[in-house]
Symmetry: C2
Subunit: 223 residues, 2 copies
């Protein structure tokens, strides 16, 4: 059983986008990706199609695949959707969380802090997103978790384009507070904290003009 080929490519590209090694707008040539992973264009196309479903990649017919560049409007929509889904999900998570879940979240936060200390902002951002996805998983809602995972991924692109004060990752305090609320199984508080956390995130963006330029594909994937 190896669904691996497509899955591997999807996972690699996803991670590269998540960690901002592949900038929005970068072209993903089928031949080039295929050569890098040692597969034919057939499987590359399948992978790119899957990424386009989650709006991480934009497919332009007869032109090619590019890392998506969410518009300002789309950026707002993504965060509005998160505001609808995540607070209530955090509440559910607080009501169901187990010690094992708590330990996992704790570990995530520690890794996040470590990455920050090493200035690996890409990795820190990725872990920060995983934190949100983990909460959805704890809430035991696969369907909603899938939506949140997609929104988190798209948020990563939004951050790449519209993040202004890169120095101060205000995330950490929000996540720490959330973890405490979850540990106390305080659903109402978790819901409120998540709501506020998302608002903080959105207001830390500058939704007026974009930054960042495309990257070389090989450079991003073959370090």
């Amino acid at each position: 059983m190896k669904e691996t080929s497509v899955q591997t490519i999807v996972a690699n590209l996803e991670l590269a986008i998540h960690e901002h090694r592949l900038a929005p707008g970068s072209k993903l040539s089928e031949d080039e990706v295929g050569e890098i992973f040692g597969v034919s264009r057939t499987v590359v196309r399948a992978a790119l199609q899957r990424l386009s479903h989650t709006h991480l990649v934009e497919l332009k017919r007869n032109i090619g695949a590019f890392v998506a560049q969410p518009s300002i409007r789309e950026a707002r929509e993504v965060f509005e959707a998160r505001a609808l889904l995540e607070p209530r999900t955090a509440r559910s998570a607080a009501e169901r969380i187990t010690p094992a879940d708590l330990a996992l979240l704790r570990s995530h936060l520690d890794q996040e802090e470590e990455a920050m200390a090493q200035q690996s902002t890409g990795r820190a951002l990725h872990l920060s997103g995983r934190f949100h996805i983990e909460i959805a998983r704890i809430a035991d809602q696969n369907t909603i978790a899938e939506f949140i995972a997609q929104l988190v991924a798209r948020s990563s692109l939004v951050i790449a384009l519209y993040w202004q004060r890169r120095g101060a990752l205000c995330d950490r305090h929000g996540h720490e507070a959330l973890l405490r609320a979850l540990a106390r199984q305080d659903g109402a508080l978790a819901e409120e904290l998540m709501k506020q956390h998302l608002l903080d995130l959105m207001t830390s963006l500058d939704l007026r003009n974009r930054a960042s330029a495309p990257t070389s594909l090989r450079e991003a994937l073959l370090p």
Copy 2:
């Protein structure tokens, strides 16, 4: 410019599933679908992949594609996700609705009633779903609208599997009341009505055991 090939197949299969001409569990053979639409397996596979991403089709590796059969758990999750997204979206829609939007919704409801009168329950169900999607579009939230569209589609499968009293489509009254609230731009009422409508829908399902058996592909697509 013809993205048509894949798009056409996706749309046709989607509609057939929506209208319950293709029952959950039906096998979608690549050769057979390709022959019906006069394209190669390449494009059929692309279409099936897209449908699998929205959970309308389940792809089993080395075995094939089947119309999805949502589990009871998944059925609950779908409606819980809708409960999170749709009421607030209905409120937004009420606040932004235009006369043209109202006319469109009115027309949808009329068509729905007509289909019901003709005993075309499949078509009635499809139109009933479209009503929800239209509301999301009116709310001017493409991202959320896409999620809702997916959930509505999956709901159609859930209904095919778990609907009990097929005779009484209680939908209509709910939709009529919603339309009145929207016409009055009463956001709070629209939100409450949508919430109740979704609860009604869910409680009209029997989430204990499934019904319905797979259908012949040709029979469903070539009427």
